[in-house]
């Protein structure tokens, strides 16, 4: 795969393919990916496993080299705005001309057609349009909207773009036909609220609502503060209710007519929440969790990662490959999420670190048949580069 993307919504997709074993070549501007300079963490989070050739796509020789790489590739991926790749000379038609069965994927903010097609974008536009910010406020309860800082919109463009490529690859394996495809932050984010539909008269499908304190969807599916921390309760079944009352030593609630049925408990959400909030303050979170679990009531301590308790440092998850650890030449040991999919027979791997800008330029051009002298000449003319003593980046 040749990856011309920058920032996140492009490069994250190719990184997932590198995790699956694809030979991903990141074609990076000689001045560096826009995120390499200032955002080491987010940059590393979408670049591991790739090889990197730094070349100038505004130089005709740079475009020629890029197309020579495409001729050896199965897939091309990037997140340039509409028309940019065509202007540079690496659009779908250019790539198809050198590789007729190429699978070509562009991720956009809004997609390539329609009144806003020409816009670039950023994550919050997708979260706003999908309804995520409105519901997490929650605006309906009088709060401002709240942006989720985990970049849900970017992720929703990047991951489905891999689905598109794999579907197209499966099809190409059967027909020999390549094609172009796209995903977008906007369309991907629609998956997060795909469950919302309208009836014929425009009535929205019913949805749970978050309380104004942002603690839960219901008295029995909610965060509660305990004597020493917070506990997530998920007492969602009828049999959970009775067991919960016993563990909390509030047996009288079992026969309280206000809470007799699941519907009653929903109708008296505020009263029940207040009673449970009071009860949970009487003991430690670990004690509640132990008691509830042994009584069959789902509950878990809400882990405060500021206390250093993060699953990145869980040895069992490291062994399971769900957490990755590898060495980076400038940063030392790195820990990140590992395999997002676990395979029984074709395990993924993340031992190759985030590449430095142009780290593999010589190796990649050499494999295209360029002699050392020619490669040195390309560098002298500013068409390509690789890390020297004056390497300007921290990663």
């Amino acid at each position: 795969m040749v990856d011309f993307g920058q920032y996140l919504a492009g490069p994250y997709g190719p990184m997932l393919l590198a995790d699956l074993g694809a030979d991903v070549i990141k074609v990076e501007p000689t001045r560096g990916d826009g995120m390499r300079g200032g955002f080491i963490g987010p940059f590393m989070g979408c670049q591991r496993g790739k090889r990197d050739v730094a070349l100038d796509l505004k130089h005709p020789d740079g475009v020629r080299l890029a197309l020579e790489l495409v001729a050896t590739a199965d897939m091309v991926h990037h997140n340039m705005t509409l028309g940019t790749a065509d202007r540079l000379g690496i659009g779908y038609e250019h790539c198809k001309a050198v590789r007729p069965d190429i699978l070509y994927c562009n991720t956009y903010m809004y997609g390539p057609v329609g009144p806003l097609a020409h816009f670039g974008g950023v994550d919050p536009l997708a979260q706003a349009a999908a309804g995520l910010e409105w519901e997490e406020g929650p605006v309906a309860e009088g709060n401002p909207p709240l942006w989720y800082r985990y970049g849900h919109g970017d992720v929703a463009a990047a991951i489905p773009s891999v689905t598109a490529l794999l579907i197209a690859l499966y099809h190409r394996n059967r027909t020999g036909e390549g094609q172009s495809m796209w995903a977008s932050l906007l369309h991907g984010a629609m998956l997060y609220t795909a469950d919302s539909w309208l009836a014929a008269d425009g009535t929205p499908s019913p949805r749970p609502t978050l309380d104004r304190e942002q603690l839960g969807l219901d008295a029995l599916y909610r965060l509660y503060e305990t004597e020493d921390g917070w506990l997530q309760l998920a007492a969602v079944r009828d049999d959970h209710w009775v067991a919960l009352c016993r563990v909390l030593r509030r047996d009288e609630l079992v026969n309280d007519p206000r809470f007799a049925t699941a519907a009653d408990r929903k109708a008296h959400r505020a009263e029940l929440t207040a009673l449970l909030a009071d009860a949970f303050m009487a003991d430690l979170a670990t004690n509640w969790r132990r008691g509830l679990r042994s009584a069959g009531v789902p509950a878990e301590i809400s882990v405060d990662t500021w206390d250093g308790e993060t699953i990145l440092f869980d040895d069992e998850l490291l062994r399971a490959g769900v957490v990755a650890e590898y060495e980076h030449p400038l940063l030392g040991r790195v820990r990140q999420f590992g395999n997002l999919v676990t395979f029984s027979d074709t395990p993924g791997h993340q031992e190759r670190a985030t590449p430095m800008c142009g780290e593999h330029t010589r190796e990649i051009l050499g494999a295209l048949g360029y002699a050392d002298a020619a490669i040195d000449d390309l560098r002298a003319r500013g068409v390509v580069t690789w890390p020297g003593d004056d390497y300007p980046f921290g990663v």
Partner: protein, 388 residues
């Protein structure tokens, strides 16, 4: 009128047996169903309990439904027969459930070596995390999502959006398709797994990158993060997001659109806290004086990014969803015509489409089992004994 050739779908001929409830399984499989896969929902004779949720009408559309009681030996045998016709099985049961029926991967792989078997548990199998009950909010709690979600206050925050399941739903089709692509070369299937915990990890790409030199983006949660600052209230209590930057060259500044003087960044940074607060208060006041529709139009005309912050049911009006054909009418057999979001990835050569509504429970039992060679008499007998 000319002859209309129906485009070939990329996954024509691929058969998936979908045993899943919840979110990640059915929504993951949906993305393959709408690119041509023949998905058969296998549910208990009285229908899957997931059908009680309104979401099921979307997550379980574009597939057929066969009802089979897997608790009966005859039912499990029918399912095995179906495996012989299928490429993929997807299940999301509590650990050990499929094994009880003799339908776990180990029990199927010798008879069906080309089968891709996808499991979608809450927690990674074979780890102690499996002891934690499989509920979405417990995954958020254990992975630190609740303490890392920014908010208006300190302390943990309940995430309204079931993000673990939803990102797992994006990973499920990748798990299945990569195993199928590998099968093209090895001629063998395999067992693939996407846990909800891995769904959470998929979101941490920017946030969890620890090195010997330190963690490269601290999980500070209050006050809210960078993009929260560009949310503004407009007239009539409507909200707008006006984030900076984004790949276009604006012709005007946001300040000029809302009728304020431009203050260069260096001057803004040189201001005292009180001066800056005063300036930002004037921004907020200027937004409140204008209607959202007018602001969105004017900002976009000026090449600036702007998006109405809407409730989910209001998103169908988005001009880009309209322009890309992404808002579809689906005739649901129980509630009639509905408006839903359609296909969300766009393959130009093999576009895919919504193939139909969530079928009634068991609507295709006879058709699916009949194709296995069962006679009407057989099926009648199976129905009488409650197997189907």
């Amino acid at each position: 009128m000319g002859v209309i050739l129906r485009a070939v779908d990329a996954l024509d001929g691929l058969r998936i047996l979908d045993l899943t409830g919840g979110i990640a399984g059915p929504l993951g499989v949906l993305q393959l169903a709408e690119h041509g896969a023949d998905v058969i929902k296998v549910e208990p004779p009285r229908g899957s309990s997931a059908r009680q949720l309104p979401a099921s009408r979307v997550y379980n559309r574009s597939r057929r439904s066969a009802t089979i009681d897997l608790n009966q030996a005859d039912g499990a045998r029918l399912f095995r027969d179906l495996c012989g016709t299928a490429d993929v099985v997807v299940e999301a049961f509590a650990p050990g459930t499929m094994a009880q029926w003799g339908l776990d991967y180990e029990s199927l792989r010798d008879d069906f070596p080309r089968l891709v078997y996808c499991s979608v548990p809450a927690w990674p199998s074979g780890t102690r995390f499996e002891e934690i009950p499989g509920y979405e909010a417990l995954v958020h709690a254990r992975t630190g999502q609740q303490w890392e979600t920014t908010s208006f206050r300190n302390g943990p925050v309940f995430l309204h959006s079931p993000v673990a399941s939803l990102s797992a739903a994006m990973l499920v089709p990748i798990a299945i398709m990569s195993a199928l692509v590998a099968r093209d070369r090895t001629d063998r299937g395999q067992h693939v797994e996407v846990s909800l915990l891995q769904g959470v990890l998929a979101l941490t790409t920017q946030n969890w990158n620890w090195t010997d030199r330190g963690q490269h983006l601290l999980p500070k949660t209050h006050p809210p993060g960078v993009h929260q600052g560009s949310i503004y209230e407009c007239a009539n209590g409507e909200w707008i997001h006006v984030p900076a930057s984004g790949g276009t060259q604006p012709t005007r500044s946001v300040a000029s659109v809302i009728g304020l003087e431009d203050v260069p960044f260096n001057e803004l940074f040189a201001m005292s806290t009180a001066e800056r607060d005063d300036y930002m208060a004037r921004w907020r006041e200027a937004f409140r004086r204008r209607t959202r529709a007018e602001l969105v139009e004017e900002l976009r005309e000026s090449g600036l990014l702007a998006e109405p912050i809407v409730a989910p049911h209001e998103r169908f009006d988005h001009p880009q969803l309209q322009a890309t054909g992404s808002v579809v009418e689906v005739a649901d057999p129980e509630v009639g015509p509905t408006t839903q979001i359609g296909v969300t990835i766009f393959l130009e050569g093999t576009p895919g489409a919504v193939r139909g509504p969530q079928p009634l429970s068991g609507a295709h039992t006879d058709e699916v089992l009949g194709a296995l060679g069962h006679s009407d008499a057989d099926l009648g007998e199976l129905r009488r004994s409650g197997v189907i």
